[in-house]
Symmetry: C2
Subunit: 135 residues, 2 copies
């Protein structure tokens, strides 16, 4: 069935992380630096991103399983099964990743950021500024 709500990637992540299994899990490890590479046709949308900005990056976790509703958090079978909306599991009905990152460099439509825990090739859905109070 075709949904009326379709994501058109505005860019892609370039990252040394190439494997979901070795990607860090949020809240524990430190993720590496990565590039956000925007599509040329959205260049106007990213023209005001600047070094030092803190932004939310929304990604489409394209390797996720979408039929998962409960998980053992962090993949640890000792953690009790938990509904996915109370976890950051990538496996969930709409696998949108939410990453809070700081911009380190801007080179044309390429933006370097710290702490983006997404594997190489992950589609970028959106970028938004962090508001006061961390919203």
């Amino acid at each position: 069935m075709t949904s009326p709500y379709q994501i058109r990637p505005v860019g892609y992540v370039e990252s040394p992380l190439t494997d979901r299994e070795t990607a860090p899990k949020q809240g524990i490890e430190v993720a590496p630096q990565a590039w956000m590479v925007f599509e040329p046709d959205v260049a106007d949308g990213m023209r005001d991103l600047a070094v030092g900005d803190e932004v939310y990056v929304l990604t489409w976790l394209h390797q996720a399983q979408r039929d998962v509703l409960v998980v053992h958090p962090r993949g640890d079978p000792h953690n009790p099964e938990t509904g996915v909306f109370s976890t950051r599991s990538p496996d969930r009905p709409n696998p949108v990743g939410l990453h809070r990152v700081r911009i380190l460099a801007v080179e044309g439509t390429r933006v370097r950021v710290a702490n983006l825990e997404a594997i190489d090739g992950t589609p970028i859905v959106d970028v938004k500024p962090v508001l006061d109070g961390g919203r």
Copy 2:
């Protein structure tokens, strides 16, 4: 063109806000309380949401214009035109709304929250816990 990345709403917002023009703009006004009404088939995913939890709600801002790349922030023509990825404008290529809210009540698959600035009928894409440090 059909994108391989399709959002299937996991629920809908019930809100006294019925009009995009009168909806509050993030960062200034206080939004009203609203209900998140989940689809029955994702009940397991929301079973661990609890009163007091702080969560991010991702919505699909279904009335947004997707061909907009620069805006006058807050719709004020005195504000200089800014790339949408540096604003919280609902008009953007993938109109996913990001809302940080606190859960006030849970009644079956209905969840009451404070400060959800989305109009009545807005599709819900995802819900995620706020992590330490506001991530």
